[in-house]
Structures are given as C-alpha cells and as structure tokens.
C-alpha cells in the first residue's frame, strides 16, 4: 500500500517577499543612477551595487536558518515549483554561462552554440529520465539514492567520493569568476576577493543548508535576470529601436559582417584556432560570427553538445534538488520551468555577444577618420581589453585588439557608452548567479561527504552531529577551494567542460541503469561508476602526456567513450555477476509509483514508529 504524502504547504507570502526583494534591487539601481548624475564616483557606485545585494542575500539566508535535518538537506520538501526552477537555472547557467559562455560566443560565434544547446537538452534528459524517480526516492543526496536503490554502502560511498571531481571543479570555476568580478569593482586584491566569496558561500550553506540556498538562490537568480536584461534591452533599443534583443540581433548581421571584414577577420578552418575554445587570457578575435564550423567541425560540435547534455543531466548539484518540491508532478514541472529559463538565457546570450562585437569593431573601423573610440581607454583601464598598434599604421585591426573572454559581458555597457551604473548592475547580476551556483556546488559536495561518508559510519539517530558534520565539511571544502584558487591559474570554461565530462561519464550510465533497468545489481552499479570515472580519469591525466583530451572536443570524445564503456560494464556485471536482490527490485517498483510519500520518508516514519513501539514495550 502506498503511504499518503504529508501535507506540506509553502509559505503563502513568498510572492510578496520576492516582490519586495526585486523592488529593492531595482530601486537600488535607480537610486545609484540618480547619484551618478549627482556626481558620485564610480568606485562608490560599484561598491553599493555589489555589496548591498550581497548583504540582502545573506540576510535572506540568515532568515532561512534551520537545525531540522529535513529542512537542512531537502528544504522541507515544500519549495514551490517556480522557485526551485529559479535555483536550478542558476546552477545550470552559473557564472560560467554568464561570463565565459557569452565570451565564447563573442569569440567563436556559431561554433560556441553547442554549449548552450547542451545545457538545455541536458535539463530535458534529466527531467524525463531521472528527476521524477529521484523525487519519489526522496534521498538527500545523489550517492544516498544510489546507496538506497542498491542497498549498498559501498555504492553510496564510492559515488560520494567520485562526485568530488565534477562538483569541486564547478565550485572552483564559479568561485573564481565571482572573485574576479569582485576584484575588478571592489578595492580588493584577488585573494581577498576569493576569501570574501568563500566566506559568503560557506556562511549561506552553514546557516540553512538547502533551505538557505533555495531562498537566497532565488533572490540571486532574480537579481541576475534583471541585471542582465536591463543593460541588454537598453543597448538593443539604441541599436535596433526594439526592446527584444533575442529577436532583433539578426538585423545587425549585415553591419557586423562589414565591421568584421574591415577589422581584418577572415574565415578560419578547424585547427587554425588553438585551442578551439578560446582561453581566458587576452586574445585577438579572429573568427567571423556567422562562419559555421570554423573553430570546430560538425563532429566536434556534436561531441561538445553531448558532453554538456549528458553532464547536465547527471550533474549531482542539479539532481540533489530533486527532493525539495511537494510532489513528483511538481518536481517535473519545476524542471520544465528551469529548462524554459535556461533556454531564455541561451537565446539571449548571442545577442549580447553580437552587440558587443558590432560596437567594438564598427568603432574601430571608423578610427582612422573619427579617432580612437572613447571606450577603448575605459576598457583598457579596467583591464578588459589590451590594444596596441603593432604595425604602427595608425589604425587598429582585430589582431591588435586583445580581449579577455570572461569580461566581454562586462564590456558591453561601456562599449555602448551607457552610464556606469549599468556596468555595475551587470557585474552585480553575474556575481549573484555565480554565487548561487557556487553555494549549491559547495553544499552538494559537503552534504554528500558528511551524509554519505560520516553519516554511514556514525549510526547514532541524533540530528545535531549530522548537521555539525555538514558544517565542518562545508568549511573544509570552502577552505580547500580557496587555497586551490590562490595557487592555481584557472580557465573556468575549460574546468566546466572537464566537470561536465566527468559528471556525464561517471553518473549518467549508472543513473540510467538504476532508474530504467530493474536487473541492475550493486556490483553492476559499482562497475559502471568505476569504469566511467576510471577511463576518463586515465585519459585526462595519463592521456595528457600523449595530447589526448588536451582540447575540449578531445575531453568530450573521451567522456562519451567512457560513458558507453561504463554502461556496458554495468550491464555485463549485472548479467554475469551476482544478481539483484528482491528488495532492490521492490525499491525499483516503488520508485516508479507516482503517488504517495517519498520512499525515504516512509522508511523514516517506520523507524520512528518502531522506536516508539520499542519504548512502549520497555515501559
């Protein structure tokens, strides 16, 4: 018999709260625009635009503090679908999407679209293949789900250890880009900015875990969306007279092609650009936007697409949020809303890149007659571009202007000569999305280490040591990433490619088998996890000596091969090794029932009931 779900009502005032938060963010931007007109310095405006929203997010997290394990690990299972979708979208896109993806589209044009398409289709794969079943299972972490599905501590602990690589890589990437933005606009060195970011994300995670991440993450996503939309719409109105950049940037292609040709950009062939995905260092733009398959060929485009799609579908930080809504149907709808939001961002990002490229190279083409554009000194001052007339002919061509990939988004308002407050708004927005994603990655990593490693070893049914273990893990992981960022020179897009490749190769096959094949056994799951991770790890580390997986496309190819081998290993071991127990099959059947309480909560209720019965008997 299926246990009926408990009644879980979301807070009815959420709409009002988030209306107030949105209004506060917009009002702050308007106020600062007025103060800029009154003569406030750019430094003060940037500090207010970045630090005041940070205080607001921290206040939201403090208001969501909790000591209840269900609230801490699953946000009380009462998050409305749209709010969960906001956080899911923030995790998928993150600072990597906001800054590195827009920069990659700026440099590579058509060829970079594989990444955004991969994110969107990955969410579709997750929503159809995994999310509803994970919601019914109700486990607090992805390794816990695998452990419960196969009734195996070994599977749980192995999965927990293996998820460290993709989650930590994404955490480092998100913290790095948030720190870079903070160090540009605040009077902080990079290491102080990293420290600020680490303290912020650790504080949010420690205060309220998943609950605090949900409510502060929703606020951060709203700020991110507003901060991206406003400058982009203003630029769109200036260039196309219409406030819908997604649909009007096509009109600019004629002017863009002329500007690119005037700046000396000629069609390239695959292999001309090394590496195919532009790095973060200042680089000359050499590829025309509209040229298809210039940096990577069709096969490379497909490989990159599948790497991001499989990686997104099996990303632990996304799947860990599968247990936070009220029901299976709500969770499915939540993923659909998240997909719509991510698709909206992916549709919008190329317009930002096209507008930035057009403004930059159109003005450069006019330089011999109209003089050096005014934005050039401003962008150079903020270290967003480097320009030098190498051949001394008095003009600048594309090869003489070096642009930093991750700072293209920040350059747009300056290129359009908009008030500085819009640059600060865009920076604040990007930082907010990066912080939301970083917080979720940190919590996923730490909660898993605490619950799936410490939790498995410590069997005491007391909540506080479990939470204290999570707090300690959060602090330790934040410290570890802080030290890593201080000593390593990171390329956030490359790290994201590697992280998604590891997530896809390690977790996609085992999740497919766990959710869709009742005969998969614990040994099959272990074989799948070990093969997927092991093959890719070998290719990335040892293969690096032989130039294998050195490029993003190479990593994608290795990831797909590893995923296929992992699937074969899981199937082969399940068929020819020890079979699955009847209790595992019963779990599989229960997981597919759409109605009723989560399996985890049913088990918890049975445990509590058994304890009460035992206590009564003792009396």
């Amino acid at each position: 018999m299926t246990a009926l779900p408990r009644q879980r009502s979301p807070n009815p005032h959420l709409g009002a709260y988030y209306g107030i938060i949105t209004a506060a963010f917009v009002s702050l931007a308007i106020l600062l625009a007025m103060f800029e007109e009154l003569g406030w310095s750019e430094g003060v405006i940037a500090r207010c635009m970045i630090l005041l929203p940070l205080a607001l997010y921290l206040l939201t997290a403090a208001g969501s503090r909790t000591l209840d394990p269900e609230d801490y690990f699953a946000s009380g299972r009462r998050v409305p679908q749209v709010y969960n979708a906001l956080v899911l979208a923030a995790i998928t896109v993150g600072g990597v999407g906001f800054f590195a993806y827009t920069g990659a589209v700026f440099f590579l044009g058509f060829d970079a679209l594989a990444i955004g398409l991969g994110w969107t289709c990955g969410l579709l794969l997750a929503g159809v293949l995994f999310v509803p079943y994970l919601r019914k299972a109700g486990a607090y972490t992805l390794p816990a789900f695998l452990g419960q599905r196969f009734r195996s501590r070994h599977v749980r602990m192995t999965a927990s250890v293996l998820q460290v690589v993709p989650t930590a890589l994404l955490l480092a990437a998100e913290m790095s880009i948030a720190a870079v933005v903070a160090s540009i606009f605040l009077p902080l060195s990079f290491w102080l900015a990293v420290l600020l970011v680490a303290i912020f994300v650790a504080a949010v995670g420690i205060l309220g875990g998943m609950r605090a991440l949900t409510w502060s993450g929703s606020a951060e996503f709203i700020a991110g969306a507003v901060g991206l939309a406003v400058p982009l719409i203003v630029v769109s109105v200036l260039l196309t007279h219409l406030p819908a950049p997604q649909f009007t940037y096509g009109e600019m292609f004629g002017s863009l092609q002329s500007a690119e040709t005037a700046a000396g950009m000629l069609p390239v062939t695959p292999g001309d650009l090394a590496p195919a995905l532009t790095g973060p260092a200042p680089t000359a733009v050499t590829k025309p936007f509209l040229q298809a398959f210039g940096a990577i060929n069709e096969a490379g485009f497909l490989l990159l697409f599948f790497t991001f799609a499989l990686g997104t579908a099996a990303l632990p930080s996304l799947l860990v949020r599968s247990g936070v809504t009220c029901s299976v149907a709500d969770q499915r709808r939540s993923t659909a809303w998240a997909l719509a939001l991510v698709a909206l961002f992916v549709i919008t990002a190329p317009s930002l890149a096209v507008f930035a490229k057009l403004l930059m190279f159109r003005d450069m083409a006019l330089a011999p007659t109209a003089g050096v554009p005014a934005w050039l000194s401003e962008l150079s001052g903020r270290q967003l571009v480097q320009a030098s007339d190498v051949n001394g002919d008095g003009t600048l061509v594309a090869s003489e202007l070096l642009v930093m990939r991750d700072r293209v988004a920040l350059a747009l308002p300056m290129l359009a000569e908009l008030p500085f407050v819009l640059t600060a708004l865009l920076a604040s927005a990007g930082m907010a999305v990066a912080l939301a994603a970083a917080g979720s990655h940190l919590f996923t990593l730490s909660a898993s280490l605490a619950d799936d490693v410490y939790g498995v070893l410590d069997k005491r049914p007391i909540a506080l040591p479990r939470l204290m273990a999570a707090w300690a893990a959060i602090a330790a992981c934040a410290l570890f990433v802080l030290v890593f960022l201080l000593i390593a020179d990171v390329d956030i897009l490359r790290m994201a490619v590697t992280a998604f490749a590891f997530a896809g190769a390690t977790f996609f096959p085992v999740l497919m088998l766990a959710v869709w094949w009742p005969r998969c056994s614990a040994w099959g799951a272990l074989a799948s996890l070990a093969t997927g991770f092991g093959v890719l790890f070998l290719v990335v580390t040892v293969g690096g000596l032989f130039d294998a997986a050195e490029t993003a496309v190479g990593t994608g190819l290795a990831s797909l091969i590893a995923a296929v081998l992992a699937l074969c290993a899981g199937v082969g071991t399940s068929l020819y090794g020890p079979g699955s127990a009847s209790v595992e099959t019963a779990y599989y059947e229960e997981m597919r029932k759409p109605e009723g309480e989560t399996i985890f909560d049913q088990a918890q209720a049975r445990t509590v009931s058994a304890r009460k019965t035992g206590a009564l008997r003792e009396l």
Partner: protein, 97 residues
C-alpha cells in the same frame, strides 16, 4: 469469489503497473527522440540550412540559437502534460481496483 478476490486484485494492480510503465517509457522515448533527432539533423545539415534566411538569421544558426531551444521547451511542457495524465490514469485505476 472471496478466494479469488485478492488474486484478481493483484493481477489488476500488475496490469495497471505494466501499462503505466509501458506508456511512461513510450512517452520518454518519443520526447527525447524528437528533440535529439532534431538537434542532430540540424547540426549535420547546418551548412546547407545556412543558405536560407529566416527572420534576418541564416536558418541553421537560427535553429541552433533559438528554434531548437523553443522546440525543446514546447516538447518538455507537452511531456509534462502527457506524463501527468498517464500518472493520473494509474492512480484512478488503483483507487478503483
């Protein structure tokens, strides 16, 4: 009749479960196949499609930058609706059973 009752009920529950799983599998395959096939075909024929123009965009670029994403969103919401109907049918069948 009383001896056959639980067995009949069990068989009906199994039939409902199998029907639900088959329909779920069919709708999942349809959804994913529609989107993934569209993506693969567009990538393979992108260069040819780029010779045509749509809303000021080369068609291949338009599909990869916008068209396929809009299609994925539409297909996802269609999937959600159909799957909810399938789940609802199973719940009703189990309640009647």
């Amino acid at each position: 009749m009383t001896a056959q009752g639980p067995e009949t009920e069990h068989a009906a529950e199994h039939a409902a479960r199998d029907r639900h799983q088959l329909r779920t599998l069919a709708v999942a395959i349809t959804t994913l196949a529609a989107v993934l096939c569209a993506v693969i075909v567009t990538i393979v024929y992108a260069l040819s499609l780029n010779r045509l123009w749509f809303l000021h965009f080369p068609l291949g670029l338009y599909l990869l930058a916008q068209g396929l994403l809009i299609f994925a969103v539409v297909v996802t919401f269609w999937y959600v609706r159909v799957q909810e109907r399938i789940d609802h049918t199973r719940s009703v069948t189990e309640e009647i059973g």
